[in-house]
Symmetry: C2
Subunit: 315 residues, 2 copies
Amino acid sequence: MEQSFLAYLRGRTRGLPQVDVGIGDDAAVYAVGDSEVKQVACTDQIIDGVDFLSESQPLASIGYKSIAINLSDIAAMGARPTAALVTLALPQDNATEIAGEVYEGILEACQEYGVAIAGGDLSTYDGVLSISVTMLGTVTGPWLRSAAVEGDAVFVSGSLGGSILGRHLRPVPRIRLAEQLRKHVDVHAAIDVSDGFSLDLDRMLAASRVGIEMDIERIPISQAANELAQTTGRSPLQHAWSDGEDFELIFTVSADDAQRLADLPPDALETQVTRIGTVVGRTGLWKRNPGSKLERVFPQGYVHGETDVEATVSP
Amino acid sequence: MEQSFLAYLRGRTRGLPQVDVGIGDDAAVYAVGDSEVKQVACTDQIIDGVDFLSESQPLASIGYKSIAINLSDIAAMGARPTAALVTLALPQDNATEIAGEVYEGILEACQEYGVAIAGGDLSTYDGVLSISVTMLGTVTGPWLRSAAVEGDAVFVSGSLGGSILGRHLRPVPRIRLAEQLRKHVDVHAAIDVSDGFSLDLDRMLAASRVGIEMDIERIPISQAANELAQTTGRSPLQHAWSDGEDFELIFTVSADDAQRLADLPPDALETQVTRIGTVVGRTGLWKRNPGSKLERVFPQGYVHGETDVEATVSP
């Protein structure tokens, strides 16, 4: 439902002048006063039984994750986080204990990334644990999904796939990486990998009205994707292509800046960034085969409110 | 639970330099860049069966209310609203219909007060409707709960009590009044009436470490409080004293500014403001009796996570 309802909302909510970037990017961007520094805000909720399982996952990790996934959206805007507002809906039984454990993880993540808890709300009710976080930040020159241009080099950070084996509970939002990238290059477009590498890549390119010629074999496959493939019958590449919750960054830079990234000393960035293709004018994802033949491949991942879409053409 | 848990949180979350006002006021205040204009943020969630009843109340009104109660907090800071982030947790059955109806009211309220919808999140789950709103705004010189000083005149807007008869679903957040007051006077401290007039008054005074000498008979009693008293066996004054969800403003100004308010033409403010007492150094609520004898009276209202506290001494 989410995508179509967001489209409806976008139609209904006319932009007000104070909001530079509204619904549809990783976070909203708006001006405060006449400062060049813009305000960034995003929100994400996670619910027991849908986004996590309180019976089998530590509550502190769930709290940590509720902050980290919002920080990932802030990183995808090239922004710095400042403050969070945290709202909990708590089951009546053991509400205080649950809140305390969840907050251990929330406070740990906030401390790690220099985020203040600016407010929040707590309710108890006859229902399951739900955590809703609004993350605020600041940015000068936000990275938009729509800013990729033909000729850009496309990069992805870290390695992809298999986060379900554990990394999804303690993701590393790429706040530090975003700050490091800002020092060396001018990032054009960016998005974070939350619903699946290929799906989020496709969203960024669609927002920019461009496509990509990909070197599929350069997609960085995580160790976890290799492990997972041994039990699922799917290939490590398929996991890297479509698994959700990697929380890595996909971003584009000019060809010159791509060279600059290649020339950086190994410790300049907190994690590797891998060039996986080049932006082209023709929309869609295009796989470069031997002999330079291009073949269209299709995004795959987790679409909210739908069951997983199986790829008709796998990469 | 809420008050004690907030106290725990306040202890755990050390203030970061970017946040001027953190947990404990109606909204957080923080700086963006070096602008004199500060950013304001607050959040409030409402849950079916706890804060509203979807079976008997129109979903559009519930949506309207979810925005209005947050605007009331923004008004209590003397701030102007800019943008909202809206998160819905939706029952699986009829999720899209429910979201659509709730959003009718959300959009109506946002349009009325010039608020942009900057983002949000939607989930469906096996549970009841829950709406979590984060409201952002801007302010220069926020009105804090802690800024009342001895000698200040204490005012309340509108009239109090009996909102349960209907007004609670379509409250008037005092955004316009706050803006009008700014034109004429220098408001010191302010709070909005959400949990009960006397309880919120007491909270503001406690935050300022002062008390009040009250003219109880001047408390403006609403028509609804009079009607409700006919069926509840409680007096209209008791309803005005303790009923929740009036969403009026309590605020303090200097004696000179109190005179300025008294001298305003009738249409200068969107609603009446009534002087109900004077700030004194001795903490607590003090009722001025004939012959100037003072008697202590006690706050009463809705305390989150507890049943209503019955006043041991009624006003």
